[in-house]
C-alpha cells in the first residue's frame, strides 16, 4: 500500500519555510533582483520540491505480512525494513490542525531500543487508514488473526473533565524552574545592574517586579501548553492494550500494550500535591510518543486516590506503605546543604576579596536557616517498599516520584555507596529497568537506606526476579498447552496481570 496522495501538498508546505529561507539568501546575495525573478525562483523551487516529494511518496510502500510490517522506501537509495509485529511497542497517530483539514495523519511505530527516532513513520496516510493500521497491528501483535468486532470492548478507564484540566493548567508549571528563575531575578538582577552602571540601580526596585511578571508569564505559558496538550484526554482499555487520545490542536491517539508495560511512575509536583493531585506515567521500552524528551503521561492529572486506583488496575500493588529512610540520612542532608551554603559563602567572600563588590558577603551564611527544613523535606519524601511482586520507591520534594517496578521487569540491580554515605552506613539501591524515560529514567532508586538493608534488598530483589521469571515460564508453558482451548480472557504474555475491569 502507498501513502495518501494528499500528503504531497502537505509535505511541500512543510518544506515551504526552507524554500523561503533559501530565497531570502538568494535575494540578498543576488543584489538587485526584480520581484518577478524572485517569484520565478520560488516557483522553480516549489516545483522541484513538489517533484521530489511526489517521488518520495510514490516510492514509499508498506505491506502487511504474516508476521511483519514491511516498509519499502527511498527514491535514490532504497530501503527495505521488516518490523515483526510482536516487537512493536506503540502505535501512535498524530494529527495537527492542517493535517486534520486535509484528512491525513502520521502513524508512528515504536520498537524497543529505537533510540531517538521512531522505527517507522508513515508520513502520511488517511485518517481511516491510520485507524485501520492501529487496529490491525494491535490484533496481529496478540497473534490473533480472526476478525473481532472492533470497539466492542472499549472500556473507559479515565476521562479528564474540565475541572481537572483547569487544575492541570494551574499545577503544570515546573516549580523548581519557577523558584530558580524567581531567585535569580530577585537576587541577581539588582547586583548585576549595580555592577554594570550605578544609574541602573533603579533596577534594584524593578528586579522583584520583573521576577513576578516573568513568573506569571511562565506559569501561564506552561499552563496553556499543558491544557492544549491534554485537552480531551481519554484513557481506555481495548483488548490487551491501553489507548489514549489527547490534544486540542495537535491530536494524539496512542496505544500502550499491557504486555509491554515496564514500570509505572506516579508524579506529584509540589503544587499538585498540595491540592491532593498527581499524575500517572506508564512506561514502556519504546520511546515516548509525542513528547520527545519526557515519558508518556498516561493520566496527566487526577486525585491521588484515583491515580492509585488506576495504577492498581494495571499492577496489583495494593496500598503501599513506605519505609522511611533512617534518621541519619536526614543528618546527612543537613551536612550536605551546610557544605553547599559554606561553598556559596566562600564564593561570595572570594568575589568580595577581589572586587570589593559584595560588602555584605557574609550574609550568604544566613541561608543556613533554610538548611534544616530543606533536609527534613528531602528526607520525608524518601521511601521504599518491597513485597513479593513489586518494589516501589519514592523520592523528590519538588516533584515526588513513586516508581513501581514488577520484579519481572528488573534488568540489573546495584547498590551504591559514596564516601559520604559510608560515614553513616548508608547506601542506595538502584533497580534498573528497560524504560526509555528521559533523564530521570524509570529506574527505581531507594536513596540513603541502611547499607546492610540495601545489600540484602539487592540480593532479595535478584532472587525474587529469578523466581518471577521461573513462574512466568511455567505459566507460559501451561498457557501454550491451553492455547488449543478457546482463548481465555487473561493475557497470555502477562499472567501476573490482574483481571481487568474490562472483563
Amino acid at each position: 500500500m502507498n501513502l495518501d496522495y494528499r500528503s504531497v501538498p502537505y509535505r511541500i508546505l512543510e518544506n515551504a519555510t526552507r524554500i523561503v529561507g533559501f530565497l531570502i539568501i538568494g535575494a540578498f546575495s543576488g543584489g538587485s533582483r526584480s520581484v518577478t525573478s524572485l517569484a520565478g525562483l520560488l516557483l522553480v523551487g516549489m516545483v522541484l520540491v513538489g517533484i521530489w516529494e511526489a517521488a518520495e511518496v510514490q516510492a514509499y510502500e508498506y505491506r502487511i505480512d504474516a508476521d511483519t510490517f514491511d516498509i519499502y522506501s527511498g527514491v535514490v537509495s532504497r530501503r527495505e525494513r521488516e518490523i515483526p509485529f510482536d516487537r512493536i511497542q506503540n502505535v501512535d497517530i498524530a494529527q495537527n490542525v492542517v493535517q486534520r483539514a486535509l484528512g491525513i495523519a502520521e502513524v508512528r511505530l515504536e520498537t524497543a531500543g529505537g533510540g531517538g527516532d521512531s522505527e517507522a513513520r508513515l508520513q502520511y496516510v488517511s485518517r481511516q487508514e491510520a485507524n485501520r493500521l492501529q487496529e490491525l497491528i494491535s490484533k496481529r501483535k496478540q497473534g490473533d488473526v480472526s476478525e473481532r468486532d472492533p470497539g466492542a470492548r472499549n472500556d473507559i478507564l479515565f476521562e479528564l473533565d474540565r475541572r481537572e484540566l483547569g487544575i492541570l493548567g494551574v499545577t503544570s508549571a515546573n516549580v523548581r524552574l519557577l523558584g530558580l528563575l524567581g531567585g535569580l531575578f530577585v537576587i541577581a538582577s539588582p547586583v548585576a545592574a549595580d555592577q554594570i552602571s550605578p544609574r541602573l540601580s533603579i533596577l534594584l526596585l524593578l528586579g522583584p517586579a520583573f521576577a513576578v511578571a516573568g513568573l506569571i508569564l511562565l506559569w501561564i505559558a506552561s499552563g496553556v501548553q499543558a491544557v492544549l496538550r491534554y485537552y480531551g484526554f481519554r484513557l481506555y482499555r481495548h483488548d490487551e492494550e491501553l489507548r489514549y487520545k489527547r490534544g486540542l490542536l495537535q491530536q494524539y491517539d496512542g496505544t500502550i500494550p499491557l504486555s509491554k508495560i515496564q514500570t509505572l511512575m506516579i508524579r506529584e509536583n509540589l503544587l499538585a500535591r498540595s491540592v491532593g493531585y498527581g499524575s500517572l506515567a506508564i512506561e514502556t521500552a519504546g520511546y515516548a510518543p509525542g513528547q520527545s524528551d519526557s515519558v508518556e503521561s498516561a493520566v496527566p492529572i487526577a486525585k491521588r486516590e484515583r491515580v492509585l486506583e488506576l495504577a492498581r488496575t494495571i499492577e496489583d500493588i495494593g496500598d503501599p506503605e513506605f519505609e522511611r529512610a533512617p534518621k541519619r540520612a536526614r543528618t546527612r542532608y543537613v551536612a550536605r546543604y551546610t557544605i553547599i551554603v559554606g561553598l556559596l559563602t566562600a564564593i561570595a567572600g572570594g568575589v568580595h576579596l577581589f572586587t570589593d563588590a559584595v560588602p555584605l558577603w557574609f550574609l550568604t551564611a544566613g541561608l543556613w536557616i533554610l538548611v534544616p527544613p530543606a533536609a527534613h523535606l528531602k528526607w520525608k519524601n524518601i521511601g521504599y517498599t518491597a513485597d513479593e511482586n513489586y518494589i516501589i520507591t519514592q523520592s523528590g520534594f519538588w516533584t515526588r516520584r513513586t516508581t513501581i517496578v514488577p520484579y519481572y521487569r528488573v534488568q540489573t540491580v546495584s547498590t551504591a555507596q559514596s564516601v559520604f554515605q559510608r560515614r553513616r552506613d548508608l547506601g542506595t539501591l538502584v533497580v534498573d529497568t528497560a524504560t526509555s524515560g528521559g533523564f530521570w529514567g524509570g529506574d527505581a532508586v531507594a536513596l540513603d537506606i541502611d547499607i546492610e538493608e540495601a545489600e540484602e534488598l539487592r540480593e532479595q530483589t535478584h532472587d525474587r526476579f529469578q523466581r518471577s521469571l521461573e513462574q512466568r515460564r511455567l505459566r507460559l508453558l501451561r498457557g501454550e498447552r491451553e492455547r488449543v482451548e478457546p482463548r481465555r480472557a487473561t493475557s497470555e504474555t502477562e499472567p501476573d496481570r490482574r483481571a481487568s475491569p474490562a472483563e
Binding site: 546495584s414 559514596s418 559510608r422 534498573d432 528497560a434
Partner: protein, 251 residues
C-alpha cells in the same frame, strides 16, 4: 571493536592453537588468572581440555559431566525447569562460575597513564590561569603534583576494589573508589557481550569486556583489565550462560 577471535594481536602461536582447542571443546572452561591477579599458567598448560586438572585449576569444577551441560536446548524447557527446581543443574552450571576475581595488575598502568595525562592537562590549564592572573606559577606546578599523587592513590585503590564474579545466575561486579557500586547482572538480561581493546590496552596486553543489557544503564557494565584470552573466555562463558538462561527478552 568486538571479539576478533584469532585475529587479535598479541597472541603467540601456541595461544592460537590453544584457542582453537577451546573453540572445539567449549564445554570445559579453561582455568584462568587466580584471584590474586597473577598470571595463570594458561600458556604453559597442555592443550588437553577434556579432563580439567583440579589440582592446578581451582576455578573449574572437577566433577565435569562427560557430555556438555549446555547441550540443554535439546531437552525440553519443562524438564529444565524441573531440573532447576530440584537443583540438579547446580553441578554442571558451577563449571562456569568463578571465584571473586580481581583485574590484571597491568590495568593500573592503563588507568595511571590516563589519569596522569588528565592531571597534566588540568594542571596546565591551572598554571596558565595563574600566569594570566599574574599569580605565582609555582602553585600550578604544586597543583599538578597534588593531582598526580591523588590519581595514583585513586588508581591503586580502584584496582584493589575492583572485582567480578560469575555466579550461578548472574554476573556480579564491584567497583568504584568515591562511590562504591555493587551490581548484579542476571544472565537472562544479557543482550550481547563485546570484547574491545584500545590502542593502550593492546600495548599493555589487556582487553575490556562489555556486557549489554536492555536497561537504561545498560552499557555501564564493563570489566576492564582482562587478559585478552581471559576476556574471550569470559565472553564465551557469558554467551553460553545467557543462552542457557533462555529468557524471553521481556521488552
Amino acid at each position: 571493536m568486538t571479539d576478533g577471535g584469532d585475529g587479535v594481536s598479541g597472541d603467540g602461536p601456541d595461544r592460537l592453537s590453544e584457542d582453537r582447542g577451546e573453540r572445539t571443546a567449549p564445554q570445559s572452561p579453561t582455568p584462568r588468572v587466580d584471584s590474586t591477579g597473577s598470571e595463570s599458567q594458561g600458556t604453559q598448560r597442555p592443550a588437553d581440555h577434556s579432563t580439567p586438572d583440579s589440582s592446578t585449576d581451582r576455578l573449574s569444577n572437577s566433577n565435569a559431566a562427560p557430555e556438555s551441560p549446555l547441550a540443554e536446548p535439546t531437552r525440553g524447557r519443562l524438564a529444565r525447569e524441573q531440573a532447576r527446581a530440584t537443583g540438579l543443574e547446580r553441578g554442571p552450571i558451577s563449571e562456569y562460575t568463578t571465584e571473586r576475581r580481581s583485574l590484571d595488575s597491568a590495568v593500573q598502568i592503563q588507568w595511571a597513564s590516563r589519569a596522569v595525562i588528565l592531571a597534566a592537562v588540568l594542571g596546565a590549564i591551572l598554571t596558565g590561569a595563574l600566569a594570566g592572573l599574574d599569580a605565582p606559577v609555582q602553585f600550578g606546578l604544586v597543583g599538578i603534583g597534588v593531582l598526580v599523587a591523588l590519581s595514583v592513590v585513586w588508581v591503586v585503590m580502584s584496582y584493589r576494589i575492583w572485582c567480578y564474579q560469575i555466579r550461578d545466575d548472574s554476573l556480579y561486579l564491584e567497583r568504584g573508589v568515591v562511590t562504591h557500586v555493587r551490581t548484579i547482572v542476571p544472565y537472562v538480561r544479557i543482550q550481547h557481550v563485546d570484547t574491545s581493546r584500545s590502542a593502550l590496552e593492546r600495548a599493555l596486553g589487556l582487553s575490556t569486556l562489555v556486557v549489554y543489557t536492555a536497561g537504561s544503564r545498560g552499557a555501564d557494565v564493563s570489566v576492564p583489565g582482562l587478559k585478552p584470552d581471559e576476556a574471550r573466555d569470559l565472553q564465551q562463558r557469558l554467551k553460553e550462560l545467557a543462552i542457557e538462561a533462555d529468557g524471553d527478552d521481556a521488552l
